[in-house]
Amino acid sequence: MYRYDEFDERFVRERVAQFTDQVARRLDGSLTEDEFKPLRLKNGVYLQLHAYMLRIAVPYGTLNSRQLRQLALIGEKYDRGYGHFTTRQNLQFNWPKLRDVPEILGLLADVEMHCIQTSGNCIRNVTADHFAGVAQDEIEDPRPTAELIRQWSSAHPEFSYLPRKFKIAVTGAEADRAVIKAHDIGLRLRRHPDTHETCYEISVGGGLGRTPMIGKVVRDYLPKKDLLAYLEAIMRVYNLEGRRDNKYKARVKILVHEIGAEEFTRRVEAEFAQLDGPSINADPEEVARIAAYFAPPRYEALPAVSNTLEAAKASNPAFARWVEVNTVPHKVPGYTALTISLKPIGQAPGDATSEQMRRVADLAERYSFDELRVTHAQNLVLPHVRQRDLFAIWQQLGEAGLASANIGLVTDIISCPGLDYCALATARSIPIAQAIQSRFADEARQREIGPLGIKISGCINACGHHHVGHIGILGLEKRGIESYQITLGGDATENAAIGEILGPGLAAEEVPDAIERIVSVYLAARSEGESFIDNVRRIGLSPFKAAFQETTRAAA
């Protein structure tokens, strides 16, 4: 993975000093609270319901064991012994004290980490496919691109006071695991059909929140060397023309929607044509320098099938089920990419204790070339595991309460922190997730239902990605009472779709029943091997709506 050179190191240290100075200038009155707010946000410091929250950047979700151990230490020393992994592959601490923040930033800098631009109206921490470098369907590793963008977007002189936040995601695979179509810019590495060179397909204007939109393709094939100049053109058009009169209409998706994708593309291309690419883009040596850090680790030559693994599976059905659900095939024979579930039944989705972080760090160091990933679904990945080591890993994860076999299943719920923590929330999210998990706790039943993504947001801002959940749950407040709106048919992959509302809002305690009824319709109507989302697409919303109305009638 990427390592800082002297320039990166100095930049992050200077940033810590800058924030320390900003805090001092706030305290002595040089800066008003209004002026200080965006400065602290650009360092990931939010004021939440009960305390400050600190959001730490995990660029494109990649960590090493030393970094994860440092996060464990910070959680223990400055928080309450746990952290929360987010849908943007970051980590949040919910209880740090403002006066400790500069010290925490220093500890992060010690392990080449920071909180830069994890909030605020700027280009946010860039995200990528969590199976980057190991997925079998990958055309090119997205991480060098993501790292280049991380550097280019850091403290950008022109694009640090945008109309609104700006999120960029990158994938290099055929299957989209980075939700690129729900980002302000989504980049997909693909081969040009004639030249066979890898290029970028560029989508702009995706986003969730109160006006969900699927990104529109503005360039089918952008040569790789032109990336930074093209991004500069997009950002300049947005910075100049994005709406600033209404924060709810300020995202680039609204600009693209209002002037149309074609006109937006025309303006970007006109700006791009004015730019002198060679004076803006990274030169090939720089791109190669970054890419070299992501060279594959020294894999062993192994048989495609591990007899050790097969024997362990045969003698231990629970282990076999976990392997089946939580691993995906790897590019290299004899290896697998393992997802560690942070969704044990009844826990807050995405939470990990410091002790659990240390356990995962140890496993990454011993079994996965010292590397791990954070997924946007709020789980962790050991990307390069020998199949024959899986049983030992499973045992050690089990001791730490991390061996849930539910990746991609109905209990692998994405949830924002909701009203238990968040100042913006209008309803609780975590207790809803927990209630659904308890209802579907039986592992055999989860496997029978198969892949089913439930996503929960505790307010219209949609941090829990509910719009693109196969089943989405949005918590609102109506006349002082929490009310949950259920949507169906959303999709976060390359078939991106926004879910449709099934009917009137439900009370919190009615939600598990409603999910149960939706699942029953699917189980009764599915054909052989048909997944939930495929079934919804085939039979349409009506049967689900009918069943849903029974829930509301039963409750009335």
């Binding site: 930049f11 200077e14 040089s30 400065l39 403290a155 300049r236 100049l240 004015q274 720089e286």
Partner: protein, 174 residues
């Protein structure tokens, strides 16, 4: 209003004129709405600048640039970053006069403004009173180098510094 250039406090040789009647003001800044009329009345020894709302597209300003000695871009709020992009477009067109940011900027934006092509910052009294000049100079020097090519004076960006280091030590790059 207090004025800063990259070295600190600066003298303002410009005078603001409310309308197009610039009389014998030697260096007059006029509102965008009356710019054409003011240029019509320009005397040979007179220099003219404009105070430009940040909602005006560069294409509307461009025809006037050859006759302007100053463009002051309005910042209605420090959080409204349109001026940074406008300054870039004006510099790209080869404008060699002064570009001024006019509004309640904060010291933390000083380096960004200079990098985007601004020469001076014109502050409301209240902003200037809270943020003394040394704060601006310290903020200007926060980063030894940033990551974007083509913004600051040459050599102050990381990518070109890496390139220079590679050229100086080709073997160490192994």
């Amino acid at each position: 209003m207090p004025l800063l250039d990259r070295n600190g406090s600066a003298e303002d040789r410009w005078t603001r004129s409310e309308g197009a009647a610039i009389g014998n003001i030697p260096a007059a800044i006029v509102p965008w709405e009356v710019l054409a009329a003011a240029l019509d009345a320009q005397e040979p020894e007179q220099v003219i600048g404009v105070i430009l709302p940040n909602s005006v597209p560069f294409s509307a300003l461009e025809p006037f640039l050859p006759r302007l000695a100053l463009v002051a871009i309005a910042f209605p709020a420090y959080s409204d970053g349109r001026g940074f992009s406008l300054a870039r477009q004006i510099r790209r067109a080869g404008f060699a006069g002064e570009i001024r940011a006019s509004g309640p900027l904060i010291a933390d934006q000083f380096a960004y403004a200079l990098s985007c092509g601004f020469d001076t910052i014109e502050l409301p009294e209240a902003s200037a009173a809270r943020q003394p000049v040394p704060q601006w100079l310290r903020a200007r020097d926060t980063f030894s180098a940033t990551y974007q090519r083509g913004y600051s004076e040459s050599g102050r960006n990381v990518l070109d510094q890496r390139r220079a280091a590679r050229a100086a030590a080709p073997i160490a790059a192994e």
